[in-house]
Symmetry: C2
């Protein structure tokens, strides 16, 4: 492995790490706008989306360049193909944050309001999962990646709790259906963010061990 | 390019084509079970999922092998990295079909029933999009791929129509909230299938032209 190749691999790591911080920030801002009913926070998220999209293209281009010029094998090859996959997952986490922002835009125009504490709880878990799965990638940390797979179960359970609660709310208060539906879709977006981080974690495990643990029915996530 | 490499590339094409037929079939069966209220059709879908998951791993393995052994460049390299991405999209289309099957399982246990013609319409469009995006990949057909991007707008509009209709239904008939919610989530699954086919179409266009048209805001899809 040439010294220059090391520099390029570091560049790849750094780009993905920046992308992860950016999407984490988008999730945070969208939920802050939701909880504090502040529409003025949402504009920044749509700007961030453009930045994420640009980074997404840059990373893909860099990966293709490295595959073509360096013709890597073994763990270096798996590192680059994993980076391509992780790149796609991060971009989709950004899309989920944008979805949350869109649902929030709709929701906070309505005068109705309930404080649903399960949503901030789901947000904390999903944000930590985003943070940790990139840490696992950077540090080739298989144990951390496995830990993320376990945390996803908690997130799924919370989403089921939110669904049950909101279905009850709708039944009692059908005039506010759209409001509750927006909240329900937001909980689903947060759950999906968790799913993307488990995909990343599986990519990390494969990258390090060269062993594919996907589809081994340890974890249910659709 | 060696003759053997051609054989391997054909194998890759064939595997992805089989996977596409399989997931198309899963969508078809899930919606048939929904419309005809036949729970007995759903078991096959969960078996198909295992098959899709196995193919997903096989394709990824083949792509890695080809990257390592053939060290392709230019369009051959883009073909293989596109195949890896398309593979992931097809697997997720399978997941969406499984989601539809799960929502259908819940839904048809309830005695309530409405015939919502928009759902079969969405199904036809999304299935045709799955079929065509793989055809575009196999035949390197940029025009067909672009056409799929346009069709996605119709699917998005239909989903918005379904949402509006079902919110009205819930408001009038809150005791059936869960039933309507299952239908709403199914329409969202069908819309997401469309999104995956547009991702595949963009991969095809990139593969053929070497030009990345993603994130050019022609099409709104989150």
């Amino acid at each position: 492995m040439t010294r220059h190749f090391d520099v390029e691999l570091n560049e790849l790591r750094e780009k993905l790490s920046n992308m992860a911080s950016l999407v984490e920030n988008m999730i945070d801002t969208a939920i802050k706008a939701l909880m504090e009913r502040k529409a003025e926070l949402l504009g920044g998220i749509f700007n961030n989306e453009t930045e994420v999209n640009n980074k997404h293209l840059e990373v893909d281009e860099l990966c293709l360049k490295l595959l073509a010029l360096r013709q890597p094998a073994g763990i270096d090859l798996r590192f680059i193909t994993s980076a391509m996959k992780i790149n796609a997952e991060l971009e989709r986490i950004g899309d989920q944050a944008v979805n949350i922002a869109q649902n929030t835009t709709n929701l906070i125009q309505q005068p109705f309001f309930i404080k649903l504490e399960l949503i901030p709880r789901m947000t904390e878990i999903s944000k930590a999962m985003v943070n940790d799965c990139i840490k696992a990638f950077i540090n080739k940390d298989v144990e951390l990646a496995k830990n993320i797979l376990l945390r996803d179960n908690e997130l799924d359970q919370l989403k089921r709790d939110v669904f049950r609660k909101l279905i009850g709310n709708i039944t009692e208060n059908p005039a506010q259906t759209e409001y509750f539906l927006d909240l329900l879709l937001i909980s689903r977006n947060l759950e999906k963010i968790g799913d993307h981080t488990t995909n990343i974690s599986e990519d990390v495990i494969f990258m390090v061990l060269g062993q594919d643990i996907r589809h081994h029915h340890l974890f249910d996530k659709h």
